[in-house]
Symmetry: C2
Subunit: 93 residues, 2 copies
Amino acid sequence: MKEDNKQTLFQAIADVQRRRILEILKTGEQSVAEINDKLDISGATLSHHLTILKQADLVRVRRAGQKRIYTLNTSVLEQLLIMFKNLTGQSGE
Amino acid sequence: MKEDNKQTLFQAIADVQRRRILEILKTGEQSVAEINDKLDISGATLSHHLTILKQADLVRVRRAGQKRIYTLNTSVLEQLLIMFKNLTGQSGE
DNA sequence: TTTATATTTAGATTATCATCGAAATATCTA
DNA sequence: TAGATATTTCGATGATAATCTAAATATAAA
C-alpha cells in the first residue's frame, strides 16, 4: 500500500468520533440519521467525518431513497490490521 | 484501557515521522542521534516526537553518558494491537 | 574548569483539523 | 408541483499540531 493511503488510513482512525462511527457500523449498516442518533455531534460534522472515512475507503455508501446507507469495508480493515502488525513487529499471537 | 490513553496512542501513531521512529526502533535500541541520522527532521522536532511517543508509553528511555537510548515498549504495542483488532472486528488470524 | 557533545526546551510560525449554523441539493410524498 | 425529509456543502472559527532556530541543560573529556 502506498504511503499516502497509509497515512490517510492512520489519520482516519486517529479521531475518536470516527472510531465511534466504525464501532457503530460494526453492528450493521446504517443511515446517516441512525448513526447521528448515537453520537453527540451536528449533522454537518458527522457528514465531514463520513467523508474522511470514505476517502480512506473504510466505509462504503449506497443510496436508498433519501437516505444514504453506510457500511464497513472489512477488506480495508484487514489491511489496516496487517499494516499495524508490520509497523510494530507484533505477530498478534 | 481508558479512552484518554487510547486516544493518546492512536494520535501518536497518526504521524508518519513517529511511525518511522517506531520502525527504526524495531531494529533495536538506539540513541537520539542514531535515530536522527535516519530521518530528515531537526533535532528539536525529533525530540518533540519522542516526547509524544514517551507520553503514549510506546517507547522507553534510559541514559548512557550524554546519550539517551530509546527502546520500543512491546507491552503497549501488544495492547494497541488488541485495540486494533477490537476496532476492526478482525481476529487477525 | 573550560570546552565539546547530546538532547531538550522555549518561542514563534504555519498548516491542519474538528466543529458549527446556515444554505444548498436531492429525493420522496401529497 | 409544493412541501417535507435526509444529507451534504459552504464559510467561518477556535484549537491542535508539526516544524524550525536559538537558547538552555546536562554530561563527558581535556
